[in-house]
Symmetry: C2
Subunit: 389 residues, 2 copies
């Protein structure tokens, strides 16, 4: 049988990240590829208690169909944390679903949307299904360059998509002055800002910056997630949006999956309700800071002459660059082909670009591999790179 596939689906291809994650299922690979939280941060004991409480005291409500908007106590918890009312909060099946819903509500075929360059690959995938025209905005090591937000560039765009805190893939953080400029420019041009913030709580600077949401609650859609601070396998995220948008997002979600697992939502809420989060976040931050330190130290001892990189103040990733003579995809292939020595995985930068590609960039995650293996992996990467130079 011949299948008549939609135009949008014909354009879909397997993502590089996905293919790479398959290789890294082999535990002998040292993987700096995945944006995967360290499993030792999962609050397993609290979850066990949460499951027992839910099934003892509210089994029928937790296992029954539930309202599309989400579990009210969880929505209230989120609303309080962000200083908004709970009716602006929609629980989503991970942050990824919020991107899908926003695309459904805001993108017509041919709509122009503004993205950072490079930007989160999963957002490019979610948006591209709805056939927008992507306009990449010029970025530097601190994110969107305010001078690039010219009227010509932004006018008529449906939204700008940005990850101001410890961006995936670059790890960079948008300074507060640029945040204000971005929000003001978008407000003046009547363009919605989508602030994707999965890493905001993973701040190692001790000085978190104000959200874009706090700067213009009526013009910003904020996306949050419990994947990086509790556990990704529950698939619980959320969107905070102005009322006219939240209504459309709820209707769209109803058509997309009715609602997010009520059991998973209650697990998240029960765990949060123990008041453990602040202490838990301190532990996660300490762990990841140590791993970031190990990676920065290893890079300094092994790669100082052959690579450049940044030192992010939070999140999971740093962004590196190899010399112009080396393509990062080639480096990855070589790095995974080793027969002697460790195989090392990372994500080449190319698929994250929506505009001009820098093929010599790569994303290194420091959160999954313990410090001793970080050292081993970086040393191996340096020696593979040396062979290509």
């Amino acid at each position: 049988m011949q299948f008549d596939i939609s135009q949008r689906a014909q354009r879909l291809t397997s993502s590089a990240i996905r293919e790479i994650l398959k290789v890294t299922e082999d535990p002998s690979v040292i993987s700096f590829a995945g944006g995967i939280p360290s499993p030792q941060t999962f609050p397993v004991g609290l979850m066990k208690e949460a499951c027992a409480r839910i099934l003892d005291f509210a089994p029928h409500a937790a296992l029954q169909y539930a309202p599309t908007e989400g579990y009210t106590p969880l929505r209230e918890w989120i609303a309080e944390r962000h200083g908004v009312t709970a009716d602006r909060v929609l629980i989503t099946t991970g942050s990824q679903q919020a991107l899908d819903l926003l695309a459904k509500v805001l993108i017509d075929p041919g709509s122009r949307i503004l993205v950072e360059n490079p930007t989160y690959l999963g957002a490019l995938q979610a948006f591209s299904l709805f056939e927008p025209i992507l306009t990449p905005i010029e970025c530097d090591g601190e994110g969107i360059v305010p001078g690039a937000l010219t009227e010509e560039t932004i006018l008529g765009a449906r939204f700008v998509y940005t990850m101001p805190n410890f961006q995936n893939p670059t790890g960079r953080r948008l300074p507060v002055s640029r945040r204000r400029q971005l929000v003001a420019a978008m407000k003046a041009a009547n363009i919605v800002v989508i602030e994707d913030d999965p890493y905001g709580e993973l701040d190692y600077s001790g000085e978190p910056l104000p959200t874009l949401l706090s700067m213009n609650p009526d013009g910003v859609v904020y996306l949050g997630s419990f994947s990086k601070i509790i556990a990704p396998g529950l698939r619980v995220g959320y969107a905070i949006a102005p009322m006219p948008l939240i209504k459309k997002l709820v209707q769209t979600k109803q058509a997309s999956d009715l609602h997010t697992s009520g059991f998973a939502q209650r697990m998240v809420y029960e765990v949060l309700d123990t008041g453990f989060l602040d202490a838990h976040l301190s532990q996660i931050r300490a762990l990841y800071m140590a791993q970031r330190g190990a990676m920065l130290a290893s890079l300094a001892s092994h790669c100082a002459l052959s690579m450049s990189w940044n030192a992010p103040e939070g999140g999971m990733f740093l962004w590196a660059r190899v010399p112009d003579s080396v393509d990062a995809v080639r480096l990855l292939e070589k790095s995974l082909a080793h027969e002697n020595g460790s195989r090392v995985a990372f994500v080449p930068g190319a698929p994250f670009y929506a505009g001009k590609v820098d093929a010599h960039t790569l994303r290194l995650s420091f959160v999954t591999v313990p410090p001793a293996r970080i050292e081993e992996g970086v040393a191996q990467l340096a020696s593979t790179l040396a062979m290509l130079l």
Copy 2:
């Protein structure tokens, strides 16, 4: 701020079902409206054990990011039950998500798709977001009329969407001869069949009919769900599709929510793996058969002169019709406005129609309300109807 909403989202309106479900949150309402499983069928004890096992023996895997395709043992369980290979099985966030993914993969704006009339409202909502042209196929009390599948009607359609077992909303079942004719006609015209089968296991006839999938595995996409046989609040469903389609569905799902909650998938699998399902299904069937019997008996004693209805051999719903002088939406309003006597909810038939509407039809669910209250509700409905006649 003005929001520039996509055309598809502008057309979205709140569904009648949804508004009605809000009213039925009040426990004093006798609700025949929801397609909501009886909570006494939820295997709470087995789930408690399942949660403990998962968190004792595989907490990190269950709580981590996981492959988009789904949890392998669950996919294998499903594959074995349907006589297919596991690589054809994709786990979805409820069946509803499978409708969304199929729409993404198969519908371009203006694509023609074939639907039963009336049909499942949630499918109409999922498909409509992708702006198809709906062609309703003529149906009678047994479902799609084979004679209506003329070349003129079906040619060039992207797919036909059908619920052959105990359809939502009508409760009707497609006879085996019609199944064969439908599958043959679609095969000849190279049109994909989407077989949505959430109620197939709720067969009270003792004689289940062969699936469309079994008649043409390379031309049928089968959608199944654990919502009606384990619990809807876990949001675990699945699609079985030919390989060229499954690959596109997986890519599309990755962009839509990465994967379905791995914890919820393992809960389903662990519960199934106890081997409880066959005995459990017998219990559910016995319970719902008794409730169906109570509703049929109540209708016969109170409504014989004012309504007609069918006697479905499975599922959750029966389909009724009031005289031409009464609009079912008006009856619902009246029925919920009572100050003396019980308020009774049901779903008027109108929103389920994709073509010609019969405004005098209504859907009655017999699974949520216990027999004694079924009698009370039907009696009250009959007296409300009498006032309008």
